[in-house]
Amino acid sequence: MEVRVEGKEYEMPVDLYIPPHALQVILETTFEGPLDLLLYLIRRHNLDILSINVAKITYQYIAYIELMEANQFELAGDYLVMAATLAEIKSRSLLPRTQAIDDEEEDPRVRLIMQLREYERFKNASERVAELPRMGRDNFSVCMDMPDIKQVRPQPTVQMDELLAAYAGVLKRCDMYEHHTISRERLSTRERMSSLMAQLQEHQLMSFHSLFHVSEGRMGVVVTFLAMMELVKEKLIKLVQVQEYGPIHVSLGGQIESPNQELSL
């Protein structure tokens, strides 16, 4: 039996007892580490953790690791450590039993089974925690307006460095530094994008020229133009032209239904 992974053919291990059609699902599933993968292999067949056949599971485990590698999954070292543990258990089982039984504490199979059972407990618990009613998904905070109160609510003030620290935190978390370069230039464009949107919301259809202000100088004009291009790209605004070489008008995206020719950029 053969299986195709990204065009390449692989021989399917004959006693791999997961049906081939499940392969795709498995490859698309991300496992939360080697214990998770092992549990998956065990639970798919309603086997008891206590009764796992290590030789079989090792074989399967290695087969999956190879398939994942063939599919260019980035495998953490933890997966390989587990493979080594399984191999060790398997090799021990080939030795005369007395030796393994001598020192139960050190039996890697006992240790693995304990670890699997412990992990499964928390995995199941986390699934139940995930089902708890949660703010923002199942329950929502109540947002109520206040009557006019004579006493003005003291507004907390925010310092610039607090705001920047918050953003630095966001960026650090999402690891966005590498992907987005928000330069000064980009910020002035984003600001102009907002103000163009606001103007168009008020006037709906504006002539292309009226959005440029010569008094802002060359830089201002360039920023406006860049902002416009960005808005067109994000489909937030539309440029329309009734006739060739006629005046160009700008409107909010998808607002105007007319036979006017839409400028494609």
Partner: protein, 200 residues
């Protein structure tokens, strides 16, 4: 078919960060829900009368219906606010900073960046403070609102324009714990260079 429309409307009006019109409410239902403008209006009328003796009421303003804390209890609410100078939550600051740097941006986009939902009261607070406003709708299914910062936002932070905010490269070295002072001003020269570059 929704048999009890009242609690659904209550849930919607309480979760929203601004008044909702009958038309807007109507859009939120499927055909199978059996809800039309007329039914909504009638239900809202019934609801309005049902909060006697409560600390809040349902009122109609120009842009729709909203819940409001009852005037009679304003005195105690004022005490609540009086207590101590409060601070804005981390969530609010993060949301505000994302809007400042990534505007115009939808709530969903902010949530994607933060990895967690943005609650209505947060948006509400920032709109009330006139720091952000809706500048339109994104033309994607659902037409979500696009938020942008305002002049008041710039004023509050003593900025002349948005581009006075530190560039990302400066933030990269930002130590959150120490909140190292920001270098807010950059030589003009650099700005021109960058813009010129981007034209090509």
């Amino acid at each position: 078919m929704i048999t009890e429309l009242g609690p659904v409307l209550e849930a919607l009006l309480l979760a929203a960060d601004k008044p909702l019109s009958v038309e807007r409410l109507c859009q939120l239902f499927d055909e199978s829900d059996g809800v039309d403008n007329k039914r909504i209006k009638k239900t809202l009328r019934d609801l309005k009368g049902s909060y006697g003796g409560r600390g809040y009421q349902l009122i109609e303003v120009a842009s729709g219906f909203r819940f409001q804390v009852h005037q009679d209890y304003a005195l105690w609410v004022a005490r609540l606010w009086q207590e101590k100078p409060q601070k804005y939550s981390r969530a609010l600051l993060e949301t505000l900073s994302i809007i400042a740097y990534q505007q115009p941006i939808t709530r969903g986009e902010i949530e994607a960046i933060r990895g967690v939902g943005v609650s209505s009261p947060i948006i509400h607070t920032m709109i009330e403070r006139c720091w952000i406003r809706s500048v339109g709708h994104k033309e994607v299914p659902g037409r979500p609102e696009l938020f942008a910062t305002t002049k008041e936002f710039l004023d509050h932070f003593n900025l002349t324009q948005l581009s006075d905010l530190p560039a990302l490269e400066e933030l990269a070295s930002w130590d959150e714990a120490t909140m190292a002072p920001a270098k807010l001003k950059q030589p003009q020269q650099q700005e021109i260079e960058v813009v010129t570059e981007s034209i090509h």
